[in-house]
């Protein structure tokens, strides 16, 4: 298999697994955040912040995926 194909698979796995984990985490955090906001609307800001905190892992996955794709396209050298 050509290296480009392997890189594409790698990029897919990187973002796919990161997004899956992040999604599961965010689902739980968002459920708790909604509960907290329903109890008291003053919790809205902090709830958003905490629920969105988990997203960062997906961003890391995206960065890796982009680096792999750009490496494959010859834009960057590692």
């Amino acid at each position: 298999m050509a290296i480009e194909g392997l890189l594409a698979i790698g990029a897919g796995i990187a973002i796919g697994v990161a997004a899956l984990g992040s999604g599961i985490g965010q689902g739980k955090a968002a459920a708790a955040a909604i509960g907290a906001t329903a109890e008291d609307t003053k919790n809205f800001g902090r709830s958003i912040a905490l629920a969105a905190l988990v997203e960062t892992q997906a961003i890391y996955g995206l960065v890796i995926a982009l680096l792999l794709i750009l490496y494959g396209a010859g834009v960057i050298a590692i």
Binding site: G45, A52, I59, L62, L66, V75
Partner: protein, 623 residues
């Protein structure tokens, strides 16, 4: 602007006979928050109405007002999010207010009586309807039996049971009941269930019931029913129809009554609330027989205004002292459109009185981040259209605030859209003024990280300013700069952009910063999260790219169908772009919010300030 409004603690001494006039004046001015003074409380109200009585009157009028609001105001999704469409204050002359309070008891009593009567009738109607619905359900289950249900009434020596059972249980049940002297009649009706009638002898009833329960027999309460099921069903439906008509009539009558009295109850509620607030403040005064003292908070800039007003009302028999303290409540004060963003700052919490207010930065960078993530000229125009529609449809404060925020966000999206050449993706085929994100994603990521670096450092600078103001150590913040400066020099050297000597200087500065950081374990954690925070700004590029790619995909799919069916192609194009605009806008809004709340605020913002709540007329305009 950078800090909340400067406040002062105010102490006012005046003659006790003037207290009614003083508190009324304070409420009229709406610039002083009265604070509790512990100690003896003894007061007379300016309207000679007892406080407990007024509080109870307020609660009663509030209950009616809320009940009426449910009928008078719309409660759709938009109203839930943005409040009532039309929000206007009750307008009254000063001398009319006292009349409203004096009449309040009469008005509230009248409405209580009327609403209670109608409410009771509606409740009874609901109860009757439920009962009739139960009978209809029962009759429907038994409609296959063509006999008078009175026959199922238990007699002295026999009993009768009716109910339903799953079809597959019947043969086994029959076997189990074979030794009893019973009459069993079953009729299949729906979902593989059988309606069942069991007649038997009284002494065996207990045993038979146990066996039936074992098979999951569901009993019907038929006691008291007269006539054939068909007839009961017909009569039940007729009665239900009549009850529904009666309910509609009662609701209509109630609505008419509420519409007739709405203005009266709204006026009564708002005025009674104003008097209650006034009396609550009055209770906080320290009083002796001849002299009263009040303590409170007020913005420093209104000092002369309050002095003039109270001098006037007491004919100069008043004494003031002012004091600056650190435990004052927070009143945010931002110029022009940035004021609208206070609601976003408030969503996280209010800064403490001495802490920095980040609203002014938020007002600039929130739309910038939003626009960067949406970055499409046409999508931005749609956001502006939404902003104007919101302003046109809703006439309340909250909707006004959000329409301004959306307006700025829309303008920013148009700005970035021109730079990146996005007009519904690549639909118009125009080139951007700067570069195309889909062709140069690395550039987009670099810009995002620069935004991150600037934004996080702004937070650190605010933290330093805040700490200098409160005379605390700024070493943790300064060490960030050392780490960053050293790190940048090292990176520049790697790319051959600076001389070797600067690399060593960079190493020195970097490690000095790291040593300052790791001198305490908690700071070490901060060092790791610092880089995580900056990397988090890559989301700006990620969402911007996602918006562009989805737009490209929509254009591509619709172009495939354009030769076959122009209507289908147009449909895919319209729905696709509306969908992309909606989800990308929501994503851009939430992520912009998050970058401020998590990455920016976490550097300096504690959000534990208490809101400045001056004594004023709420929802009331006194002429």
């Amino acid at each position: 602007m950078l800090f909340p409004t400067e406040m002062e603690k105010i102490n006012v001494a005046f003659l006790s006979e003037d207290r009614g006039k003083v508190v009324e004046k304070l409420q009229e001015q709406g610039i002083v928050e009265v604070k509790e003074i512990s100690g003896k409380q003894e007061f007379l109200s300016s309207v000679s109405i007892d406080t407990d009585y007024l509080s109870s009157l307020f609660l009663r009028s509030e209950k009616i007002y809320k009940d009426f609001s449910g009928v008078m105001k719309k409660h759709g999704l938009l109203e839930t999010l943005l409040g009532n469409r039309f929000e206007k204050n009750v307008s009254l002359k000063k001398d009319e207010m006292e009349d409203v309070v004096k009449n309040a008891e009469k008005v509230v009593k009248h409405m209580e009586g009327k609403t209670e009567r109608v409410g009771k009738q509606i409740e009874e109607n609901k109860k009757d309807s439920e009962e009739v619905k139960g009978i209809i359900r029962l009759a429907e289950n038994l409609k296959f039996f063509d006999f008078d249900l009175r026959l199922l009434s238990s007699l002295k020596k026999t009993f009768a049971l009716a109910g339903k059972l799953k079809l597959n249980g019947i043969p086994d049940l029959k076997k189990d009941l074979a030794n009893f002297r019973i009459y069993l009649h079953s009729q299949e009706f729906k979902n593989e269930e059988n309606a069942l009638i069991v007649l038997g002898l009284k002494p065996e009833e207990g045993e038979i019931r146990k066996i039936l329960l074992k098979y999951g027999f569901e009993f019907f309460e038929v006691e008291g029913l007269k006539g054939k099921p068909d007839k009961i069903l017909k009569e039940g439906k007729e009665e239900l129809e009549w009850l529904n008509k009666k309910r509609d009539y009662l609701l209509k009558k109630r609505k008419e009554f509420i519409e007739e009295w709405w203005e009266e109850i709204e006026r009564t509620y708002v005025v009674v609330r104003a008097y209650r607030d006034r009396l609550k403040s009055l209770q906080m005064f320290q009083e002796t027989k001849y002299v009263s003292v009040l303590e409170g908070w007020m913005p420093k800039k209104y000092k002369w205004k309050i002095q003039e007003a109270l001098d006037d009302v007491t004919s100069g028999r008043v004494f003031f002292t002012f004091e600056e303290t650190e435990d004052a409540p927070t009143d945010l004060e931002n110029p022009g459109l940035s004021e609208k963003f206070e609601v976003i700052t408030g969503g996280f919490g209010l800064p403490k009185y001495k802490d920095a207010d980040p609203t002014i930065f938020l007002a600039f960078l929130f739309p910038v981040f939003f626009g960067f993530m949406l970055s499409d000229v046409l999508y931005g125009s749609l956001i502006i259209l939404l902003s104007f529609s919101m302003r046109f449809y809703f006439r309340n404060r909250l909707a006004g605030v959000f329409s301004h925020i959306l307006l700025l966000c829309g303008i920013s999206a148009i700005f970035w859209g021109f730079l990146f050449g996005n007009f519904l993706g690549n639909f118009l085929g125009l080139r951007g003024l700067w570069f195309s994100p889909t062709q140069n994603p690395i550039m987009l990521i670099i810009i995002s990280l620069v935004f991150g670096l600037v934004h996080v450092n702004m937070g650190i600078v605010l933290s330093i300013v805040q700490k200098i103001r409160s005379k605390k150590s700024t070493i943790p913040e300064i060490s960030w700069f050392l780490v960053e400066a050293g790190g940048l020099l090292i990176i520049f050297r790697i790319f051959g952009m600076v001389a070797e000597v600067l690399f060593y200087a960079g190493m020195l500065v970097f490690f000095a910063g790291v040593v300052m950081k790791i001198s305490k374990p908690m700071r070490m954690i901060g060092l790791i999260s610092f880089f995580g925070n900056i990397l988090s700004y890559v989301r700006l590029a990620a969402i911007s790219l996602a918006t562009s790619y989805i737009a490209l995909t929509v254009n591509h799919i619709s172009s495939i169908f354009v030769s076959g069916s122009f209507i289908l192609s147009g449909f895919i194009f319209t729905v696709g772009h509306l969908f992309n605009c909606t989800i990308s806008s929501v994503g851009a809004f939430i992520n912009s919010l998050r970058l401020h709340y998590v990455e920016f605020f976490s550097r300096f913002f504690e959000g534990e300030g208490k809101e400045f709540r001056p004594l004023k007329y709420e929802g009331l305009e006194v002429k």
